[in-house]
Amino acid sequence: MVILFYIAAIVAILAALGVVLQKTPVYSALLLIVVLCSLAVIYLLLGAEFIAFIQVIVYAGAIMVLFVLVIMLLNARRETPGQGSRMARWLGGPLLVVFLAEIVLAAWRQFPGAASPPPLNAGPAAIGQLLFRSYVLPFEVTSILILVAILGAVVLAKKS
């Protein structure tokens, strides 16, 4: 289990680095899919099978398909770095260090040592209970958010 975790984690990190460093957009998109799938593996190891497969279905199977399609339609080949990327490098480097430090520190403090966390109850029924009982408001309000997005897509794409 632990070995699997490290494999998935390392694959995820390497692929994520690839997403950023890769110059060809299609490769970036494909590597992002790899990241998402390795995250799914980690969910699986945590015992959250439902979340894992939903992650694959929704992100890898639906959202990223649109990304890849758009990249293909634009026929985007290799990128050449412009002026903006220089600024990004200046700003991005320090920010990266700071964020990384924060995450590492937070994780370090949270690390309980001996006591292992209680087993996760992440089956479909438990998640359904959470979504429709405790978190019913954010859940329903998110549907308004999606409605707005759909409405926007229709408005902006409609033939006038």
Partner: protein, 488 residues
Amino acid sequence: MTPVQALDFIRVLPEIVLASCAILVMVAEPFVSARHTAALAWVSLIGIVAAGAGNAWMRRFSGPAFGGSIAADPFASYFVYLLLLAAALTLLGSVRYLETNQVHHGEFYALLLLGTTGACLMVAATELIMIFIGLEISSISTYILAGFRRADKRSNEACLKYFLLGSFATAFLLYGIAFIYGLTGTTNLVQLSEKLSAPGARPPLLWIALILAFVGLGFKVSTVPFHIWTPDVYQGAPAPVTAFLSVAPKAAAFAVILRVFLGGLASAGALVFWLLWISALLTMCLGNLAALWQTNIKRLLAYSAIAHAGYVLVGMAAAKAAGPEAGEGIASVLFYLAAYALMNVAAFILVAHLAGAGERYQEADDCTGLAYQRPGVAACLTLLLVSLSGFPATAGFFAKFYVFRAAIHAHLIGLTLVAVLNSVVAVYYYLRVVVAMYMREGNPRASASPLPWPLGAALALSLVGIFYLGLFPTPFVRLANLAASPLP
């Protein structure tokens, strides 16, 4: 968590009414014949009024809802009224605009209502995830509204810029929220405040999370240096949309800043204070200075809106500096936002009318001699600009007065001095438009057609409000004080 009860739904009644009304408008649109599309506006208006009535009725049931993710308190109630007012004025101002510019009605009103819904959720939310979802709803609606005149290049530019930079800023906010959750283990503001005020419970590097969240929210209220999108978006978006987005999302974001930085994260005192202080200083000065060079009225009002955000931040810094007596500062901010909403929405919807079909005439010079052709319209615009600049007897005056008084009480003498100087500078650019209208002869290119009655009604309503606040501020101040009470 306790199971959801009917009471929980009553406490989000305005949002439910608004969203239902939006869906009704959207579904009804295909069935309404082209000649009667204005009917959709009246349906929307009824929805807004009903939401207001719901908000009033709800006062009897105040309290937290949905496991503490929403609070139906006087603070939320105050802001909901304010947002509904902004939405109603925008609606009245856009009925004829949509007809002359041939914009689709149904989607416009639906998005307006949904945007208001999102903003209402933001002000009532006491949980970071709810705040985020509300913010996204209001943001995405306004992104789309900004691009509503699809044939117009500027509108497209506005839409795209607003969307790209807005998404970027939202990512910052989300990053901040994620860090806050990672460091404290909660997203609920009440629990957050408890956890952080416990002795020795300050997680390290919380300041990074704070700054990230502040950047995200700072974008929404266009504080310097996160204001770069504002002039282009305000200028390019259809003028009634500008009216809405310069007020509703901004006021809601200010409410969130109050709730988060003076409520949940209050214990991170000094950092928050300096963030507010520096933002206030930069925002006031840059907004006013840049406004001096503008010839385009929409752009001018955009920079003026930035400057006003600066004054609001002064009030917030005052509230933060006052410690336990934050009430005065918060109340001054609330008063300011109400005055600002009345003035700004009215100014932009009037500009929408003046600019004519296709918004061709946005320059100050286009108004040359307007006073001789349309004295009523010119007088109206003059009053609004005068109030924006903060002349006595108008809402703008007392708004500034209360903010400055709170700042002085909090011993922020330097900041107050800068703010007063700024208000003096601001008079110059507001009056330049007035001068063009009254002092110069010539034929105004701006639309000289009579005011359509919905717009007239909206303007009359705002002017009454402006003078009411300017002449009899005391009852309203009492209201603002009441609304400020739920925050520490």
